[in-house]
């Protein structure tokens, strides 16, 4: 499917300046209540620096789904969720225990545990996107496509 966001924004703009019948200009309001564990509010992002103590391609008991990095930070240990594809497939984050990294994301309490929802990881000067700004996972295919781009997309 197309980059609907960009195209539809353009379409919406065109529709505003065209003479389409008013009856078509329907609007509806969909209130979005951010409440669940998958919610990701980019305005709450922080960056943590630490040393990787473990690389978990599969979650341990009690952890949320997906891959994880366990970090040792100055504030203590942090469970950093790398999502469904963070450590999987082409273009995945390349990291090993003992490495110093920086992670940007949002700290949340899920299943009674503190977990850091990672959006980007900085490893040795390389920045990897793990999720988009809404928390949607960045897949190997998405990484591949993003690396082939000459200009940015909508995501």
């Amino acid at each position: 499917m197309r980059h609907l966001f960009a195209e539809l924004c353009a379409s919406a703009l065109l529709s505003l300046i065209s003479a389409l019948p008013p009856a078509q200009a329907q609007t509806k309001t969909v209130e979005t209540t951010i409440a669940g564990p998958l919610s990701y509010d980019a305005s709450e992002e922080v960056t943590l620096n630490g040393v990787v103590s473990s690389v978990l391609t599969k979650p341990s008991s009690g952890m949320i789904m997906g891959s994880h990095l366990l970090l040792a930070t100055t504030s203590g240990p942090v469970d950093a969720s790398m999502g469904k594809f963070g450590l999987l497939g082409a273009g995945a984050v390349s990291v090993a225990a003992g490495q110093q990294i920086g992670v940007t994301g949002v700290m949340k309490t899920i299943k009674d545990n503190q977990v850091f929802i990672v959006r980007t990881v900085k490893v040795g000067g390389e920045v990897y996107a793990v999720r988009n700004e809404h928390g949607f996972p960045v897949s190997p295919q998405a990484r591949q496509r993003a690396s082939g781009k000459t200009s940015g997309g909508t995501l």
Binding site: T32, Q141, A146
Partner: protein, 644 residues
């Protein structure tokens, strides 16, 4: 009870007795056709639904009244259980009389069965049609899921149409496959299906369909294997069933209309060119080759845009009911496959994006929708195989004047949190063109809070578009949240009684799980007796959730005991100590904590709400299987006794 029945009979007698004195009997007492009219059945096969008449006296239901159903004595007609062309039934407390099973005779044509009541001058007519056995039938199908091939996992969608003869031979067909990575069927031709076989157990409706396509990149060297579970002779739940991919969808007998026209509601779910999950839903209308008055809501990886106008061009369908929709903002090219006059499957065939969904006609309701169009309903939504994995189901009642609703729902956001029997409430609105929205307030259902609602024909069964007798009405749904997206269905809730959840059911499910970071899909069939489900099915499992047979499993058993939620009638749990247990051959039993919501005795949805896996799927009461292609050929791998 006996006293009340006698009173009603006396009331009837009194009223009809007064007729000789000049009273307007037709106004006081009458018999009407409530349901069952408009059905078709293959010659010598039973009709799917009984004939139901309602008798009223003075405007009130008349119980204990004998209704006589009379079919034509000669020509196209049929017989009731017992072999006679007449049958009687007595009205219940609601004034409703239900006929015994009615079976078409050997003559194909339309005719009328008359329901009458002694002493009441009016009668009720049921229009029925006996259809001839055709040498072959066309089916349209669609699927979406996870592809293991092509350096997967990848999202993929598949839609097509096939001609199958009475012996189960696939004679011809067309299909479009799209994983938006490498395997996209060439356009504009699509793939040609040159052969294959449908093998079905005549008793259970379970079997295997193989499709031989001219695209050797797909399936196993061009052969796609699909597990089928017929719900009735015109509708099957299906899963792709080979080592290359797993997916869920449906297959329905195809009737090509002379033209496509009128209002439609639609949803699509797939991936955008950046390979993020994307869903879209909206309404449009078709006039000749023009697709106009389009409004589409889009959730593109959390970026939500609402009510965007669009137009397009729709081509005439070919002999397989396949055509194209171009010029929209949704995709460069969408192909469609007609199911019937008011139902089509749509698939994005662009090489850099993929998606699949349905468009359903709005019929005579187009332009007349409003808040009152949405009443008590059951809804079910699920992410596609690529988005943040979740599924939610629920039920609610509406107050149309205020545009509010309240109900209860369940939601599993995989691996993070499960909401069980959450009270939900909020507002909704439906415009005249069927375009609407529903908001779940206060985060009572986690991240599921914003649903687009797109109303379809109130005489259409969205889960089984060839059905005209039950489960009619409802809407397509798009989940338009910023943290997840998905699509689903919303259908009227008409019966929450536990006694109705009984009989033989076909079912399916699309499971996402953390164990494999992948997906498995299943279809099956069995009985629900005393709330106990006992069934058999097939599982597509190329990501090794069930270890015994890593790719495909037949002869899979399903069992579970449904416990009614007395505080929320229409909701059931299959929780420990009686969870749903799925056991593959030579494998260990796997427990699933399952919730069921009942729209009616014939249509239910179930949701696995475990912390490390979820699935969503339908449970649909089985109808007559007579007339199935290859029904005489028993599938050796699926042969089993009917669970009853």
């Amino acid at each position: 009870m006996i006293r009340k029945t006698c009173a009603n009979i006396l009331a009837l007698v009194f009223v009809t007795g007064c007729s000789s004195l000049g009273r307007k009997v037709a106004v006081e007492s009458m018999v009407t056709a409530t349901s069952g009219s408009g059905q078709s059945a293959t010659i010598n096969a039973a009709f799917a639904a009984p004939l139901v008449a309602t008798v009223t006296a003075g405007g009130s239901p008349a119980s204990g009244v004998m209704v006589t159903f009379t079919a034509p004595a000669t020509g196209a007609s049929g017989t009731f259980a017992g072999g006679a062309n007449t049958a009687t039934a007595t009205t219940n407390a609601n004034g409703v009389a239900t006929s015994a099973t009615f079976t078409a005779n050997g003559t194909a044509a339309a005719y009328t069965v008359v329901a009458s009541v002694s002493g009441v001058p009016t009668t009720a007519n049921f229009s029925l049609t006996n259809t001839a056995v055709r040498a072959s039938m066309n089916y349209s199908f669609y699927l979406s899921g996870l592809e293991a091939a092509d350096e997967g996992p990848n999202y993929y969608a598949l839609a097509g149409s096939v001609t199958i003869d009475t012996n189960g031979n696939v004679l011809a067909g067309e299909q479009d496959y799209n994983d938006a990575v490498e395997f996209t069927s060439p356009q504009p031709s699509g793939d040609t299906i040159n052969g294959g076989t449908l093998t079905v157990d005549a008793t259970t409706g379970q079997g295997i369909l193989t499709l031989i396509a001219n695209n050797t990149a797909l399936g196993v060297s061009g052969i796609e294997t699909i597990g089928v579970q017929f719900v009735n002779s015109k509708h099957a739940l299906i899963v792709q069933y080979d080592a290359t991919a797993t997916s869920s969808g449906s297959m329905d007998s195809q009737t090509l209309p002379s033209t496509l026209s009128g209002g439609y509601a639609f949803t699509l779910s797939g991936v955008d060119p950046d390979y993020f999950s994307l869903v879209a839903g909206g309404v449009f209308s078709i006039s000749d080759t023009t697709l106009r008055d389009g409004l589409v809501d889009v959730d593109d990886a959390g970026v939500v845009t609402l009510g965007n106008q669009f137009r397009g061009t729709i081509s005439a369908p070919d002999s397989f009911g396949r055509g194209t929709i171009t010029g929209t903002s949704i995709a460069s090219t969408l192909n469609y496959y007609i199911v019937g006059p008011e139902a089509m499957r749509i698939i994005d065939v662009d090489p850099d994006g993929s998606g699949v969904g349905s468009a359903f006609g709005q019929g005579a309701s187009a332009g007349t929708f409003g808040n009152a169009s949405l009443g008590s309903s059951v809804f079910a939504v699920e992410s596609n195989s690529w988005g943040p994995s979740y599924a939610a189901i629920g039920m609610f009642t509406t107050i149309p004047d205020g545009g509010t609703y309240q109900g209860v729902a369940d939601n599993d956001e995989l691996g993070t949190r499960v909401w069980t029997a959450s009270t939900i409430s909020g507002t909704y609105s439906i415009a005249a063109n069927g375009y609407g929205a529903l908001t779940i307030q206060n985060g009572n259902l986690g991240d599921v809070s914003a649903l687009g609602i797109y109303m379809a024909d109130q005489n259409l069964d969205l889960a089984d578009p060839n059905s005209t007798t039950s489960g009619l009405g409802g809407a397509l749904v798009a989940d338009l949240d910023t943290n997840l997206n998905g699509t689903g269905i919303l259908i009227p809730q008409t019966d929450t009684t536990t006694i109705s959840f009984s009989g033989n059911y076909a079912f399916g499910g699309q499971d996402y799980n953390g164990n494999t970071n992948g997906e498995f899909d299943f279809v099956g069939q069995g009985s629900v007796t005393g709330a106990l489900l006992t069934a058999n099915g097939v599982v597509g499992d190329p990501f090794f959730f069930f270890n015994a047979n890593p790719t495909t499993d037949s002869e899979v058993t399903f069992s579970g005991l449904a416990t009614s939620d007395v505080e929320n009638l229409g909701r059931y749990t299959m929780f420990a100590p009686n969870p749903l247990v799925i056991t593959v051959p030579a494998g260990s039993p796997n427990d699933f904590q399952v919730i069921i919501y009942q729209a009616s005795g014939g249509q239910l949805f179930w949701l696995d709400e475990d912390s490390d896996s979820l699935f969503l799927g339908p449970l649909q009461r089985e109808g007559p299987l007579a007339g199935l292609p290859a029904a005489g050929r028993t599938a050796a791998r699926t042969k089993r006794k009917r669970n009853q």
